[in-house]
Amino acid sequence: MRESKIVSRKFGHKESHTLQVARKHGGYSAIDAAFALEATEIIDIIKVSGLRGKGGGGAPVGNKWALMPQDHDGPSYLAVNADESEPGTFKDRQIMAKDPHLLIEGIIITCYAIGAHDAYIYIRGEYYQFQQILQKAIDEAYAEGIIGEKVMGHDYRLDITIHRGAGAYICGEKSALLESMEGKRGHPRLKPQQKEPEWYFGNPTLVNNVETIATVPFIVKKGAKAYRLYGTDSSPGTLLFGLSGHVNRPGIYEAEFGVSMLEYIEQYGGGVKGGKRLKAVIPGGASTPVLTAQEASCVRLDYEDLRVMGSTLGTGGMIVMDEDTCMVSALKNLLEFYHHESCGQCTPCREGTGWVDGIVESLLKGEGTEEDVDRLLDVSQTMNGKTICVFAPAVSGVIDSFVTKFRGEFEAYLKGAR
């Protein structure tokens, strides 16, 4: 695997979070290049680069930007998604802690491209320490005239405001995030028209993930082609993939799309802890279907290959499980999470997450019956595709993957089986 550092390029420098160090290593050098272009030209560059959203969905970024009206009669907004609550995911915090100025640089270019003068960064409430580092960087940027009334001397106003969440996983979903920022409960919105932008107090709003925005300066400065030198044709570029669970060196390591999952785990993670054998990997945050060791050993880390495996790339945050892991307990752990985090708007989700949690609990207690395993799959079925947001369908996919791939372990818990 060759080294591919685009977003994490400056992470290793001492005091990398300060403006001085950021500038010394090329920080903010993309701004003048961006302002020399028309807004629509920047959108075209992003389209050609093939950049895909790094918050878990992988949607083409340029197309989403193009949905923002250039001639809107009223304000447009950018909301940066720093909610980072998907279990197994801890990449955006690295950017905010180690190179906050890269994020600010990306915000400036993005706002200019979509015609926004107010950007908000919605950060999860628990990340208070990282919020403070980020706020300090924003203060520095204001003091140095990088943002504010005139962006680096250009006739363009930009204000950046951090909005602190308060502990609700669902606020990472883009429309729930905007509801929360409007001062309400974080309930995902029913959106009849997918081909329209999101809205904030009625005005068009772009929501992008922290890492997505932090990738923009490289592309604008070096060109779409330079980004495409990394990754595959349909999954171009890099991602801050991550490893947690049973590996020797958990952490975040940027790599290009298309590398082998097993090689990534070996090379960066130093393999499975304690020399044990691999049992399973959750590939991209807890809401992506689990892979068996066999599947993990032949999958490549890109959107297409994980699809072929019946899973998704998600956030790229891999949770590694060794041979001694009880898959029933692992699923129980995740179901407790989902049960706690369902926002409660849709009955299949609110009730379903409770039922499946209860069924697995009774299995673990040795009180389960023959039908319970199938009932798990039945309830899962009712959660798929009948809800306002994709939270419930994702839970359904997770349950199906655990139960079908490790059915033997579930049956071993049936009454009388032990």
Partner: protein
């Protein structure tokens, strides 16, 4: 028991109003400020915020009850929040919890008799690479072990 925002916070609130299209957007920022002042959100604070933002108190209350980090009940001086989600569970969270329970003589959901500590189990803190993790008030403690817990508790006095 009445609630008033400090002058500093009132100034912050006025400045923030300039940043948002509507004062309604300020419910979370105001709730946070209230919690930082009193370590919890009281009904009095809810009413003060509602008046400041020109919103019915019930709306602010609905918001306050939705977000798990807002404490509607008093908590100890140190609110210990241990992550219980998968990566932490795989990396020794159970052992850390057991040790915390023994040292503090409480189970999750309880506060110590002297009112100093409250122990809560929470969902993923977004720090899975340094599991197990806990948060004490606003500060993260990572790669926890029973020994490390002892050291940390020494500093929280």
């Amino acid at each position: 028991m009445s609630f008033v925002f400090t002058d500093e916070n009132l100034k912050k609130i006025e400045a923030l109003k300039e940043r948002y299209p509507s004062p309604k957007a300020l419910s979370l920022p105001c709730l946070w400020m209230a919690q930082h002042q009193e370590s919890m959100v009281s009904m009095e604070a809810v009413e003060v915020i509602a008046e400041l933002l020109d919103t019915p108190p019930m709306e602010i209350y609905r918001v306050a009850t939705f977000y798990t980090m807002l404490n509607l009940e008093p908590v100890g001086k140190y609110h210990i929040q241990l992550c219980k989600t998968l990566s932490c569970a795989l990396c020794g969270k159970a052992e850390v919890l057991k040790h915390l329970q023994e040292r503090l003589d409480i189970v999750p959901g309880e506060s110590s008799a002297d009112g100093k500590f409250t122990l809560t189990q929470v969902e993923c803190l977004g720090s899975c690479g340094t599991a197990p993790v806990m948060q004490v008030n606003d500060v993260y403690y990572e790669e926890l072990t029973p020994e490390k817990i002892d050291e940390i508790l020494e500093t929280l006095r």
